[in-house]
Structures are given as C-alpha cells and as structure tokens.
Symmetry: C2
Subunit: 368 residues, 2 copies
C-alpha cells in the first residue's frame, strides 16, 4: 500500500509545483488519511519538495478507525503537550527552506492560521483549496473494493433485521441493533448514525430515531452504512409492516422506486451531475411532489460519507467512471410518512456493464 500513498502524494506535489507552492500543509482528516493511510486525531501532513512528514499530537495508535500510517513516511510526534501539529509543520517547512506553504483554508480555522503566521512570518501562505478532494473524486479499484465490502456488511446487517420481529420495537432499539450487527459483520463502525423511521416519521431524511414503536400498517424506513478501512457506504430501504400494503403505500412506493431507478440509470461517465438529479427529481415533480423534496438526490461517498459530487439541481461538474455515489430520492408526507430508497453505486462505462450496484438488498416493497 505504501506505493499507493506515495503516488497520491506525488500527484499532489505536482499540483503544488504547478501552482507555485514550495510546500503544502494538509489538515483535513480524510485528506490526511487519503495521502498517508492514517488520520490520528489532530495529525497533519507536511508535503515538501523532497520529503513528506506526518506530524501527530500523540503517537499513532494504529487503531482500525484511524488506519495505519504509511511506514515509508517520516512521522514526527509533538514533544510538547497541547501543541498544534499544524504550527509545528509550518516551523518545519521553514527549516526545510520552503518560502511558501499552501494550506487547506476550508479546514484551518482563522485562529490556527494566525498561529501559523506567527511562527513563520516570512512564509508566504497560500490556499491549497480542494486539491486533495479533487484527487479523491475518482476512486481506484482498491478503494472500490473497500466500499464493496462496506456495502456487503450493510446488506448483511439489514438482511438479519428483516428476519426478526419488528412490531412493538422502538426506532431507537432497531437502530442500535442494526449498528451492533454492522460491527458484528466486520464494520469498524457505522458509517453515520443509523436512521430508523416508522409510521409518520418514515421517509423523513436524516430522521433521528425516537421511542416510537413499530405498528401494523406502518411504513418503516431505515438508512444505514458501514465503515470499512475508512470507506463508508450507505443503503436505505422502506418496508411495510403487516401483510398487505395500503393502496397509497404501493403507489407512493412505486413512484419513489421509479425516481430512484431513473437516477440510477442516469449514472453514466460524462453525465452532468445536475442531470442525474433531474432524472430522479422530475419523476417526483411530475407526480406533484416538487415541494418538500430534499436538496440532494445523491452524493459521493468514500473516506467521508458525504463527499463530491453532489447530485443537486445547482451542482456543477460531471460524473466520471469509478466515482461512487448514492442515489436516494424520497417523499415524506407530513403526518402520514413516506418512502426513501437509497443505494450506493459506482459509475462505470456502459462497455463495463453500466453502474455497479454495491448495495444489493432487494428493492421490492416487502411486507414484514
């Protein structure tokens, strides 16, 4: 793996050289992990012309949720307690003879920026912007296989839940049980707080589980994901509790399903992100559900659960092959509940069979 991280750092080094920065300071945790294999709390990466250094506040523990740092990479642990590795990195950049340093201004606070300036007043401080996020946009097959395993874990956890008795249990308990099952099946942790929504809460995006109990006739919507080697996937499904779904439930389900399929089918390399959003959104729009739709119908996933691209009406940019995204339209009717269907897929060219579905749990409307 060491070469993978070194190659990523070399790409960033080329970017810095081209934009006139002698050195770069990477502080956003997911970016540090992408470039070094690890993100101990507070650690930053100093990318120099020749040498790179991972600066940590305390010795990296090599815990699964932090990753193990690239062994070929120099690591420095701060001696003084309470010190800021970013400030130490600016100091080190000067010691290495750098006259300029590009920073992640979307991550560093104004106060840390000022502290950096104070220790290195002659260093020209620039903005690295989203350069590392851009490198992270297209995934390699190693990253995709981590996402594939994460999706498999989420599918297993969800599958087991479907076999258990649901009526009478609270949203909160079901969410905790799903999280336990995720970890049982090998997740480092849930990829994000598991959402379980019943009855009038069903279909509400990002619903935080309450003490409401599952009842006969409810819609039940769940959204969960696993983190595996730092990579995070997402799956969302909606079910009906009881034997026969009501007509309005079947209709609403079919509609959201059609919207989600339209979104999935629009996942083609080169497709503008806003067009993927439009494909899903217009199915719901034309059925009269324009109001109350979420701002996104999907988003990229990777080392963070919510990364580029955004699938939204105002999104810029296009899809590319090997970009993993969620497609997750939904409708929530206040007081009645609703439906949300969410998959993680990888954009693939048609010649390779089109989008690769990572979350394979059935999207039939199951009555549980």
């Amino acid at each position: 793996m060491s070469e993978v991280f070194a190659a990523r750092r070399d790409r960033l080094r080329e970017y810095c050289a081209a934009s006139g920065s002698a050195a770069a300071l990477v502080s956003r945790p997911a970016n540090v992990r992408y470039l070094t294999g690890a993100a101990p709390p507070g650690a930053v990466l100093l990318l120099g012309r020749d040498e790179d250094v991972l600066l940590c506040a305390a010795a990296p523990t090599g815990q699964p949720d932090e990753g193990r740092p690239d062994e070929a990479l120099a690591t420095q642990v701060l001696g003084s307690p309470g010190g800021d590795p970013a400030v130490a990195a600016a100091d080190l950049a000067v010691a290495h003879g750098a006259d300029s340093l590009a920073l992640e201004e979307h991550d560093l606070t104004v106060a840390r920026h000022r502290a950096l300036r104070a220790v290195a007043p002659r260093l020209r401080l620039g903005d690295l912007g989203g350069a590392v996020e851009q490198l992270r946009y297209v995934k390699d097959e190693e990253e995709i296989s981590c996402l594939r395993i994460a999706a498999e874990i989420a599918d297993q956890a969800l599958g087991e839940l479907l076999e258990s008795i649901l009526v009478g249990r609270t949203e909160r308990h079901l969410a905790l049980e799903l999280e336990r099952r995720l970890v049982d099946h090998g997740a480092e942790s849930p990829a994000f707080p598991t959402s379980v929504a019943t009855g009038p809460n069903a279909g509400s995006p990002g619903h935080v589980p309450t003490d409401r109990r599952v009842e006969e006739g409810d819609f039940l919507s769940v959204c969960l994901g696993a983190a595996y080697r730092g990579y995070r996937c997402e799956i969302g499904r909606t079910f009906v509790i009881g034997t026969t779904p009501a007509d309005w439930q079947v209709e609403l389900y079919d509609l959201v399903f059609a919207a989600q399929r339209a979104g999935r089918e629009a996942l083609v390399p080169g497709m503008p992100c806003r067009d993927v959003d439009r494909a899903a959104r217009q199915v719901l729009d034309s059925a009269g559900y324009a109001a109350g739709l979420t701002q996104l119908t999907g988003h990229g996933v990777g080392l963070e659960i919510d990364e580029d691209p955004q699938l939204a009406p105002t999104a810029m940019g296009k899809l590319d092959a090997c970009v993993p995204v969620t497609v997750e339209p939904g409708v929530h009717l206040p007081g009645r509940g609703g439906v949300r269907i969410d998959d993680t897929l990888v954009v693939r060219p048609e010649a390779d069979g089109g989008p690769e579905l990572l979350t394979i749990t059935t999207k039939e409307l199951l009555a549980l």
Copy 2:
C-alpha cells in the same frame, strides 16, 4: 428555560459592548446551543445590540440530540440550498446597521471568514475569542442536574454490565452493549465512543475496542458516558476478571486509586488547576511511573465532553465552585495492561461538603 438563554445572551452582549463590538457571530455548535437551547447542524447565532437571530441551514427538527431552540428567539431558515448561515448572518448584521462583528476565530475556517468578508466588505471583523467558553465554565444548577442524570445513566449501564458474564466476550461487543444500555436508560447518545480494554490493553487511555476477548486474570478497564439534554459525563473503572487479583494488580490498583483520591481531594474552589494535576500525578511519579503518563489527569465536562479547565502540568487558571471536572489518572504498562479510574465531580466549597461525586459506582477493586 427561555429566560435562562436570554440571560446568557445578555451576558455575552455586555461583553461585546465592553469590547467594542456592535454584534457577535457565534458558530461553535456547543456555544450556539448554550445560548439558544439548540444546535441544528450548521446553525449560527447572530447577537445584535437589540435583537438576536438563530440562522439555520434547514428548519430545526427539535430532535433530542439537537435540543429545542428558545421559542422567544427569532429564527431564520436559509432559503437557498447550500448557503452558509454564517455568511447570511454577516449580511443580516449589515442590514441591522452594525459596523463591527466579533467572530469565533477558533471555530470559523479561513475560507468561511473570507466569504463573510466578501458579502460585508465594510464590516469590521473582530475576534470573540473564547468568550462563550468562559461563560460556560461555571455551571448553573440546571446544568449540573443534567450532568447528575447523565452520570446516573452511566452508573446504571455500568452496573448492569458488571452483573453479566464477561469472560469470552470481545471488547467491541462489551462496548456496544454498554452503549445500548446507556440509551436504554435514557441517554440521548453515548457522550463519546465507549472504551473497553482488556488484558494488555487495559488502562490504555482512549483505547478503541478490538476483537480481543476477555480472559481469566485480565484487567478490564472501561470508560463510558451518557449525554443527557446535551450534557456529557464520564466514568472509568478497572476490574479484575477471575476470583483473586494477582499481587501486582492489587498494588497497581491501589496506587492509581491513591492518585485519583489525591486528585479528587484537591478539588477546592480557588485551587490552581495545575495543582490538582500535581496532586494526582505525584503519587504516580513517586512510585516510578512518571514516564508514559497522559498529558491530562482530568478536564472539564458540560455540553462537550472535553472542555475547560484542563488538569495538566502547564494549565493556567483556577477551579471555581460549580465547575464539573473529571479526575482520571491511570497507568498503562506496555504488554501487561494497567489501571485507570475516572470520576466526574462538581467542585463545591467545603462548607457545602466539598466536591460532589456524580459517578457513584464503587471504586473497590472488584473481581468479576
């Protein structure tokens, strides 16, 4: 509760007036919650001369983990998707006639600060610094009673675990079970990721649970906490698995216990924080464990699990009555394991009976 939040905002308003700022922008989530009762994701508080406004990216949901916003407070939900409430607040400050705005420079990123400057180029931007954190330092009785309930929940969760069979179960499972029990007993969520450490891992601060199983003769150390109405407590205990602890285990336990007691007994209003740290640390130091001790032997708790004061050798400042802190010295012997004992207490004057212990689970060395 509304008056409580209004009174807190008035104290901040006085601070701003005294330091020459017409308005303040509070963006750090725990600070927003302290002043408004809620912290919907991304929300900021604009504190004006006369009127305060809570600006949110989306409508506040009133979920327990976000709190309910003060109903007497004006709330604005951003119309445009993807907008930054902080930028909208700067705009609003100008509309309200403010010529200066104090920001939380330790929270705002350089990029957001630049965006603010762009929408309000004539607004004089200052630094609010840790003004709100300072207000949060001493807790009122309402806050302390939330911490008391949080501690009670953690005690209950831990107590139930002690009654179950532990040998053969993994650190990861025990941690998940503790978290489930926390929620069962009314926690909004765990206060921080639960740590369970067995055998050679025991006593290692912040240990992330692994698949190691509990064995006879192990030290088992756990550290957990509950969040209740946003307030977070912490408890840590170490046990021995099996019937009779080995001599080295008893000795090490007694030593850490003595250090922790010395720290607890130093919790007196007016005591310098570094002296509390020294009281606990020197017990371990003089037994030859100076190397490898953690940087802190305790810290404040409240709306965040790790807030002021720090109990550390270089800490500035003094304790005050009604300041809740943890006291949590420990020793970890690489390859052998160790002991950590952690309580949450509230500093009280001697006339009121001295420090109030919130986490009341026994600190005897139990053999489980």
